[in-house]
Symmetry: C2
Subunit: 470 residues, 2 copies
């Protein structure tokens, strides 16, 4: 009854094994019954005895059959001990995700997505495939901090483009900023962290989950003020100085110097600099990183992610540890395996080494800049009196529209028109009364260029009372 097909890719022994395994699993071959003799089976199927033997051995190796001395192979008689449970209680089907409240958004202006059409699937896929076939050693365990060639590429890139002053030895690659913050929490286990308000609630969650108490410090127009930080009693300070999240403030140089002075004033003080989207700056040269101002032995841990420059689904981030933390990190994490697949590490490494990464970034900057300009123009045309802030960098901006009923009403009315966005006050971890009024956060990274006009019109319907409707 079994049909083997020599033209298939799977070898004959595997086809035979799969067919027999199926018959055993479905009960067509009862537990304890003998399998046909090897010669008989070989003759029946027109294959060699070796082919049958390999198939039988595979069945035995999987516990579907057993070899009895001087008697041949039998369907495993104890088969069913584990399997009967599976028959009784099959894995429950995954319930469908809960239906979202209100209409499904047609246009998603939340932050954190990317335009998948910009991903360089062709070169990325080619490199990945070559590595899989040509570099089998990448299947083995790699270096704890990440593979050295990738760290060398990242150090070079951060040095040239972000003014980071480090050697590859200071770089730690990890599967996301959350994971790296968790490692840092161990190094700072008796510390307390100041977090920007408004800011990333994620950072507070991760640090608190990892045992670091957090205090919130309100930012002003130049970012986090050094005096308030001093007063907070924290010894750690998490900052997004290149492009404050979500307000878009770029911290000016004097403020940076004040914060570095704060860190240098006492041993054990550290700044955690999150440079999460500095790749996207459209009109001006970026300021170099705080880490670069402080130097390789300064009190700054630099963190960045490839989630925005590549894709959030590819989990690669990195941090640059100052020399003062490096020895302790290496001692305490010596037995850890790195959390990023070596194939993805090496794909990124070759992607950077071959110049694809900087070209990809240039292309993305251009595409996002055009999209931002088109979106901003459409919004200004459709929404008289609108103010847009933070358009020069990053992948989102603030949109303020007085007279549209306030932030909450704006978010709700936009949702009714199929546009998902968040109010600025949602990013306040405390004291939302400090929040600028009538302001929402508009991310455009996942917005298609052909939808720009439609989104502006939908928001106009949501937020403007047209006299003709009255």
């Amino acid at each position: 009854m079994i049909e083997l097909d020599p033209s298939q890719k799977a070898p004959l022994y595997e086809q035979l094994y799969a067919a027999l395994a199926d018959e055993i699993r479905t009960g067509q071959r009862a537990a304890g019954t003998p399998l046909p003799g090897r010669r008989t089976m070989a003759a029946q199927q027109g294959v060699s005895v070796n082919t049958v033997d390999t198939a039988y051995q595979m069945l035995a190796a999987e516990g579907l059959a057993e070899a009895r001395p001087r008697s041949g192979f039998y369907v495993q008689s104890t088969y069913g001990m584990l399997h009967s449970r599976a028959r009784r209680t099959p894995a429950a089907p995954v319930p469908p995700p809960a239906a979202p409240a209100g209409p499904v958004p047609l246009y998603d202006l939340s932050t954190g997505s990317v335009d998948t059409a910009l991903f360089p699937a062709h070169s990325w896929g080619r490199i990945q495939k070559e590595l899989l076939y040509q570099r089998p050693e990448l299947l083995q365990r790699g270096e704890m901090q990440g593979d050295a060639p990738l760290r060398a590429q990242i150090a070079e890139y951060l040095s040239v483009y972000r003014g980071v002053d480090c050697t590859p030895e200071q770089i730690v690659v990890g599967a996301g900023i959350e994971y790296l913050l968790g490692c840092l929490a161990h190094l700072f286990h008796d510390g307390m962290a100041a977090i920007e308000n408004p800011g990333y609630s994620r950072t507070r969650t991760v640090l608190q989950n990892s045992g670091i108490p957090c205090t919130l410090v309100d930012i002003d127009r130049e970012g986090l003020p050094a005096a308030a930080l001093e007063k907070s009693g924290a010894n750690l300070c998490y900052l997004t100085p290149s492009h404050h999240f979500p307000t878009g403030v770029t911290m000016p140089a004097p403020r940076r110097a004040q914060l570095l002075a704060w860190a240098a004033a006492q041993p054990g003080r550290y700044i955690l600099e999150d440079d999460y989207d500095s790749e996207f700056r459209f009109d001006t040269r970026p300021l170099p990183s705080l880490q670069g101002m402080a130097g390789p032995d300064g009190p700054v841990v630099y963190l960045t992610t490839f989630s925005k420059s590549l894709a959030p689904g590819i989990r690669i981030a990195c941090m640059v540890l100052p020399q003062s933390l490096l020895a302790r990190y290496r001692r305490d994490f010596a037995t850890y395996a790195n959390t990023v697949s070596r194939f993805e590490q090496q794909t990124l490494c070759e992607f950077m080494a071959g110049g694809y990464f900087t070209r990809h970034l240039a292309r993305m900057r251009l595409a996002y800049k055009r999209r931002m300009e088109a979106f901003a123009a459409a919004l200004r045309a459709a929404l008289p009196g609108v103010e847009l802030d933070g358009v020069h960098s990053g992948l989102h901006f603030l949109l303020t529209l007085p007279g549209a009923g306030g932030e909450r009403a704006m978010v709700a009315a936009a949702a009714q028109q199929g546009v998902r966005l968040r109010g600025l006050s949602e990013y306040y971890l405390a004291r939302p009364e400090l929040c600028r009024e009538d302001t929402v956060v508009a991310g455009y990274s996942a917005l298609r260029e052909e939808d720009v006009e439609r989104v502006a019109q939908a928001l106009a319907r949501a937020w403007l009372c047209t006299p003709s409707d009255g």
Copy 2:
């Protein structure tokens, strides 16, 4: 001077951009000098004005050129601010790894490697490539616990093959056991853990790094004794019941029942069951997991890894949380991104759904069983009086040879002959005096079949005094 080649894959605008970027970076085009007019450049290169414009825009987007109104494009005059640092202090070259002490081992019998020749590169690569081109949504952020289809596959597999009793909702996918243990440490933040002695020092390190104090409990011939566990005062217990690491003891059912009774006796007690290599069992049916005995609401967290069944370089592990921990886990980790690349998650998912995974395991079991048998036979022939223990499962066994000078001398003499292996006492985290004498741990997963005889001969030279040499 720039040569564009229409037959290349890269579009012409990208070739032009790359050539100009190179000239700017190497200083051939000085800061502040104008780039040729777009029409002039287009005529020179025989391309369209649009092509030149796109290349110039890319240069501007990367900060290498700037557009001046009514004047055209100039090499960025502030170029060099970040770049000059890179020129002054180029990233230091990675120093070569420290030379190992003694001769380089020719044969590595340490545990933790795999035979890369057994990796199913062909089907894995094909699935991966299809996903990259056909599923761009995988570039976006996925579910916190891991993608649902993968969790459904894992739940089904664990149910059928390991008797694990869970739904996909209880499964958490993560980039390695260390990462998952770190998450668990947060859930158990006021706990104390008992660790098997001998055992995995890695587990102790991770739990202690994450703030969980650890106490060591000596195992006996059936694994960790419940009475000693009760006396230890721990409320958490890390176990390898299927195949104790490194002694290979399989915990019998009565001992399992005693340990489950210990956990059930007080709320807040949990067993962490690490089923790290249960796929490799050659002669007997595996006992179902402790988790399955305890049920989906029982006090057991089941952990397993794909490091051995796929490859250590591909970082995928998972845990099964009991219902009692699930709500808290979801609340505290709600904002975390999963640590495994979605392409690798989905590749594994399709690999399992298509039946490749069980076939791959069957092939590996067969290959490793043959290798183990050949290696054991060669060792028994070459080393009269040798005892081999734990050959029926896992990818290593214990080798005892009285009269060879003791464990330390055996390890050193083997190294002199080019064979790397570890003494059993190295796995004792305390009380090494309890260790069985004259015993080393021999892993054979990375040993090639054609080397089996040579390794046995090398060990014979290392450990036997041949009278003719005397």
